[in-house]
C-alpha cells in the first residue's frame, strides 16, 4: 500500500465517524482540522500535547479518540517511525483541508456570519 492509499484510509475513517471536520464556516474548519490533527499527530508520536485552554481540551478529546481508532485499525502505523507518522499526518491534514475547505463545493463556507 502506498502513502496515498494509506492517507485515504485515514480520511475515510474521519469522514465516516467524526463530526469535527464539518463546522459551518471555512475559518472554523481550518481551525478544527489544524487543532485536532496537530494534537492527534503529537499523540501518535508520543509527544506532549498542549492543554492550556478549553478549546485545546476540546481538540484534544477528538484527537485522542482519533489516534486510538487509527492505532487499532491500521497496524501499519505501528511500524512507522515518528518522522513517517508526521509525514503521513501532514498529508492527511492537506487532504482534509482540500476536501472540506479549498475543494469544497459548499457555498456557505464563506458566509461572513453564523
Amino acid at each position: 500500500m502506498d502513502m496515498k492509499e494509506k492517507i485515504e484510509q485515514l480520511v475515510d475513517y474521519i469522514m465516516k465517524n467524526c463530526l469535527w471536520q464539518f463546522h459551518s464556516r471555512a475559518w472554523d474548519r481550518k481551525d478544527q482540522n489544524a487543532g485536532v490533527l496537530t494534537k492527534a499527530t503529537q499523540i501518535l508520536c508520543g509527544e506532549a500535547v498542549e492543554l492550556e485552554t478549553p478549546t485545546d481540551r476540546c481538540f484534544w478529546v477528538d484527537a485522542v479518540c482519533l489516534a486510538e481508532a487509527y492505532k487499532s485499525r491500521y497496524p501499519w502505523l505501528a511500524a512507522m517511525s515518528k518522522e513517517e507518522i508526521k509525514q503521513i499526518m501532514q498529508g492527511l491534514h492537506e487532504r482534509m483541508d482540500y476536501l472540506t475547505i479549498t475543494g469544497s463545493l459548499n457555498l456557505e463556507l464563506t458566509d461572513q456570519h453564523y
Binding site: M15, K16, N17, L19, W20, F22, H23, S24, R25, D28, P54, T55, R57, C58, W60, V61, D62, V64, C65, Y98, L99, T100, G103, S104, L105, N106, L107, E108, Y114
Partner: protein
Amino acid sequence: MPYHEFECSKCIPERKKHAVIKGPGEDLTSALPQGYLSTIPGSISERGCAYCGAKHVIGTPMKDVIHLSHGPIGCTYDTWQTKRYISDNDNFQIKNTFATDMKEKHIIFGAEKLLKQTIIEAFKAFPAIKRMSIYQTCASALIGDDINAIAAEVMEEMPEVDIFVCNSPGFAGPSQSGGHHKINIAWLNQKVGTVEPKITSPYVINYVGEYNIQGDQHVMMDYFKRMGIQVLSTFTGNGSYDELRGMHRAHLNVLECARSAEYICNELKKRYGIPRLDIDAFGFTTLAEGLRKIGMFFGIEDRAQAIIDEETARWKPELDWYKERLRGKKVCLWPGGSKLWHWANVVHEEFGVDVVSVYTKFGHQGDMEKGISRCQEGALAIDDPNELEGLEAMDMLKPDIIFTGKRPGEVAKKVRVPYLNAHAYHNGPWKGWEGWVRFARDIYNGIYSPIHQLALLDISKDEIPTDKGFETQRMLSDRDLSEDITASTVLHQYSGKYDCLAELSGKTYPRFETDLAHAV
C-alpha cells in the same frame, strides 16, 4: 458532477443539481448537491416555513412557557402537537397552544391591541406560568406590528413576567431552517446572560440541539447525572426558559443537532469562549465515544467508561439479535436534516442495513457533506425532494423500509414500503443504548410485519395464495438464518419495559463529594 436527473422532474431542469449519486471514487469535491435554496416553483416540496422552524422545532419544546403565535389561527394549529417533545411538567407546552387569531379586520387596522389583550389574557388564564415566547407570522410581519414594543409594554406593566420575541415569519428563509437560525440568534441576543445560574458542579455543560423526542433528553440526562455533570440548560427539549437564560456560564457546549442549533454554539464560542463539542447520541459506539469525550474534557473519563461498560453489556445481545435479522435490508434515510448524518453510517455498522439513499428536506450543503461522507457508495442523495421524486426513487431503489416524516411516510405506505417516523419516532426514545435497541425493534417490526406482507399483494392483479396460513414475524425473519443464530442463547429480543422512562424519574444519583468542593 454525478448529478441524477429524475424522469418526473425533467420539466423542472433546475432540479437536476439537487440530486447526486455517490459513485466509485467520488468524493465531496465532485459529489455534492445544491442545498438551502428556495424551492423551485412547480416542485411540490415537503418543507415547512421559517415560522414553523422557529416555533415548532426549537421554541415549543421549552416547557414552562406560553407559546403564542401572533397571526391567523391556521399557523398555530398546524404547528401544534405533531411532534412528541415531551416534558416533565405534564407536557404543558404540548397540551396548550396560543394564538392571537388575527382576522381580516386586523390586517387592515393593525393587531397590536389584540396582541396585548391576548398576552394578558393568556398570563391570567395560566397564572403559574410567567414566561412567554411570541412568534411572528407572515400576516403580522407584513402589516408591521411591533411585537417587541408590545412585549416591552407588558413586561413593564407585569414585572413578574418575561417575554421573548421571535421575529421569524414564514417567508424569512427557504425552509424551516431559516427559522432555526433566526430563533438561535434571537435567543442569544435577547435572553442569554440575563440570569446568573447556580453552579453546583465543576463540570458544567449546555446540552444543545436536543429536543426530547419521546424522552431522549431524559435518557441522556440520566448519563450526565451518573457522571456528576451539571446540565445548565437543554436547548431546548424539556428546557426551562430561565435555565436557558444562563447558557453563558457553561464550560462546554455539547451539540447534537448541528443543523438546527450550531448557530448558538458558534456564537457562544465567539462571545463567551465556550467550546463546541459535536456528538452523536444515536448508536452504541457513537454514543460511547461521545460520553468518553465529554468525560475526557473534564478529566472524569472513568465515570463515562463505567456507564459505557454497563450499558453495552446489558444491551448488546439484544442489538445483535436484530442485526442478524436486518442485515442487508435496504433503507432510504429520508429525514428532515441532521438524522441523515447522525444515522447514515451507524445504522449500517450496528443494524447491518444498507443505506441506498439519503435525502434532506431542509438541510444545508454542510449536512449533505456529512451524510454523503457517511453513507455507502452508490447511494442517491437528494436535496428538497418533491413527492414524485420520492416515488420515482422508491421505484428505482426498492427499499425495504424508509425512515422519514409522516407526510412522505404515508405516501410510501401507498406503494407498499413500510416507514418509520424519523422525526417523532415510533416507539422511542431512540437515543441511549436501550433506545437504540428500541429503534432496531421498530425497524424489525416494520419490515417483518405479517400485515405488511399481505399488503405486498395487489388484489387487483396478483394471485392470492389460498394454501398458505398466516405467517409470524419470526417465520419471516428467521427463514434464512443459520441455527447458530436462531437457537442462540446469548442473543435475544428487546426485553425492556413498555415505558422505559418511568424508572428514571425519582432515581437517585451518586454525590461526588470532591466535585462539590470544586464547583465554580
